[in-house]
Amino acid sequence: MKLARKDLLGIQELSVEEINLILDTADSFIDVSTREIKKVPTLRGVTVVNLFYEPSTRTRTSFEIAAKRLSADTINIATSTSSVVKGETFIDTARNLEAMNPDIIVLRHSAAGSPHMLSRAVRQSVINAGDGAHEHPTQALLDMMTMREKKKRLAGLKVAIVGDIAHSRVARSNIYGLTKMGATVSVGGPITMMPRFIERLGVEVHYRLEDAIRDADIIMMLRIQLERQETNLFPSLREYARYYCLNRCNIAAAKDDVLIMHPGPMNRGVEISPEIADGPYSVILEQVTNGVAVRMALLYLLSGGKS
């Protein structure tokens, strides 16, 4: 009944039992957010630092709300306004934060592996809120929580992940998590966005949208990072949308009761058409709601381990 680890760095190192523990705990936190008084005193005196080296609204807000609903204190550091711009190194920033005695540091960084480096440098618990194209574990946990809530199981589900697989930490964390939990994962996208040897992670690889989503229980559309267009991964947004935008017609290849997910922020009309994003199968906003619960569960489980 304890997450026997100091940090949450990625889904890859979690066991099935640990994932189940986090998801079960998250389920219990759902009702704290629906009460009139959306706060419990559980983490009084705990300080959570949100250290974000990349822009983020959703994830940072979600962590902050999660911490506050548990009565923890939160401090947000956006590096654009911090001493990073004065040339301080990452580890120096971390050591200075450590000296102020927070309990948990939530880190988002564009370099893969930076949470691991931080975890070795400081004694605080570190939660990875996205590191480069490596992992985004809390996103995968909230995705799995949403799938489990709607489909009542994870094992045996067929999940299609479509888009820029190569640059997606969301895809990687979900692949690690879902294959561990017994789901079948297929990935789809243009060949320029498909990493080599991705099939070694135990996924099916497709280059056509319809093939990737065939008979899927869940379709997860990834955001096309518009800034990637300059790197010539695809000729134009219009062409990408023509082949890979999930719409009313091509969705027919999936199961009738398919769920549509998106980690946000969405590019409407690029990877997902508005009638799908706002349609009856979309659980995109439920994902956001569950995100708060998953992050509450992690803050709770990582804090409870001290004696």
Binding site: M1, K2, L3, D24, T25, S28, F29, D31, V32, R35, E36, I37, K39, V40, P41, T42, L43, G45, V46, L70, Y300, L301, S303, G304, G305, K306, S307
Partner: protein, 179 residues
């Protein structure tokens, strides 16, 4: 080999609950605005059973809820482990209600402190009373029960085990020495 003694059997528990049900009604002069809230896990079935008895006596249903106090505990950061969180289900307003908290064993009083804090987050009851099956002493806070099934003086090292199940026949209260 641990020394074990049964201090209450199924019939004894049933009789105690019947008496407590009458006492609750007597003290509150009926069921008007009365609700029962069982504390997870030991108090939930007891609250349901008390609720049934009171409803039978008065012929009016009494709302029964359940409360999990894990998130209100005072030892979360020191216990060395994060405890599993149970279900809280209070499907009625507590504003202006007389709330009878129900638990199996009253010991240090810390659970009841946590339960009162939790209740206050759900509404503003007129009053809170406490009903327990066993009061074993050793209070660490100025808390007492309004309704007690049985006073059971115990030493700190002993363990009091209350078994309550849907099938009443196997219910029991046992006291066990630690070594």
């Amino acid at each position: 080999m641990k020394k074990r003694k049964v201090v209450m059997d199924a019939e004894g528990i049933e009789r105690s609950l019947t008496r407590v049900a009458y006492q609750i009604l007597e003290k509150n002069k009926g069921v008007e605005n009365l609700v029962l809230v069982g504390i997870q896990k030991g108090g939930v079935l007891l609250a349901e059973r008390l609720g049934k008895k009171i409803s039978q006596i008065e012929g009016v249903p009494v709302p029964v809820g359940k409360l999990d106090i894990t998130l209100y505990r005072d030892d979360i950061m020191t216990s060395g482990r994060a405890r599993q969180i149970g279900k809280t289900d209070i499907p009625f307003s507590l504003d202006g209600k007389k709330v009878v908290l129900v638990d199996d064993v009253l010991f240090t009083g810390r659970t009841i402190r946590a339960a009162m804090d939790a209740l206050m987050d759900f509404g503003r009851p007129t009053l809170i009373q406490l009903a327990v099956l066993i009061d074993r002493g050793h209070r660490e806070l100025p808390i007492r029960a309004d309704f007690v099934g049985k006073n059971l003086p115990s030493s700190h090292s002993e363990e009091v085990i209350v078994k309550i199940s849907k099938r009443k026949t196997s219910d029991s209260v046992t006291i066990e020495e630690a070594f």
